[in-house]
Symmetry: C2
Subunit: 173 residues, 2 copies
């Protein structure tokens, strides 16, 4: 997926839009390493205002805390790039922006910032949805900074697609 | 500027990063019609975490109110695509995210949503900065949806560059 290009993103975003509009579902985004690319990809599609409420680009940890309600203790215990922070970002985003679904992305796009335990390309993607536990996926993407960001965005939209598909049978809606 | 491409954006974003890092200035974004493209363009540059705090993609009016503090009366009186709302978005973004500079973009990227008074391509860009009145510019861009979004993003980064350049002589910092 490191070679994800803009046509992949456009196709996936169009699929998500159709799926959400058919279900009356709304989406919000909480992005760290992708820096707005998920929201940008979704809103590139005409008519996306019918289901995209908006999102938060939480690049600094202070923004993750203030705008998404991520606990400082969670950040201190696990680091910004962790499953726990991804889940807290998605849950906080969904609660604060009031969407049916919320996706979060936190990772290390590089070229700097990697370590043996958390290498460049490590990305956590989480999706929060009504009536079910928040799902999180750990990914390690290859490629340069923009390839990692694009691959993470593809993964985020795929997880949103899965979550949207499961909504119709969810008792939470 | 309707033919703004990614190399324009990358060059401008790199200039802004150098200017802000040299001054110790931070940036936050508040985007409606660009849907995250301004934040995405800024954070495409390695090292952007040194000055980009984050941003809000406020696609729905409810998000403009809840996350940026834009007054419902301002939205009702002037519409989401107006100089007044652009100023309120930039001011609210700067206050809430705590940045030195904040930029906002609100407009009509089309293909739908235009009117004789507010045609497709109409975009307001505002920049809030310490120690001066918030600046707003009215633009009308040609081209399709993505060209309008790209041109608005170029304008946003240019206004941030101007604001960053003026910081060194500002008594507000």
């Amino acid at each position: 997926m490191a070679d994800a290009d803009s046509s992949d993103l456009a196709g996936l975003a169009a699929q998500l839009q159709a799926s959400c509009l058919a279900r009356g579902a709304t989406v919000a985004t909480a992005e760290s390493c992708t820096g707005g690319l998920v929201a940008e990809a979704l809103t590139r599609v005409p008519g996306s205002s019918g289901y995209v409420l908006g999102g938060v680009v939480a690049y600094a940890n202070a923004i993750k805390e203030a705008q998404l309600g991520v606990g400082s203790s969670v950040l201190a215990a696990h680091g910004a790039v962790s499953a726990q922070v991804a889940i807290a970002m998605a849950d906080g985003c969904r609660a604060r922006l009031g969407s049916t679904l919320a996706v979060s992305v936190t990772g290390i796009a590089g070229p700097d910032g990697g370590s043996p335990a958390k290498p460049v390309g490590l990305v956590y993607v989480a999706v929060a949805a009504a009536g079910r536990q928040t799902q999180v996926r750990r990914c390690v993407f290859a490629g340069d900074r923009q390839a990692i960001r694009a691959a993470a965005t593809v993964e985020a939209i795929r997880l949103l697609l899965d979550a949207a598909a499961s909504l119709s049978s969810s008792p939470g809606r």
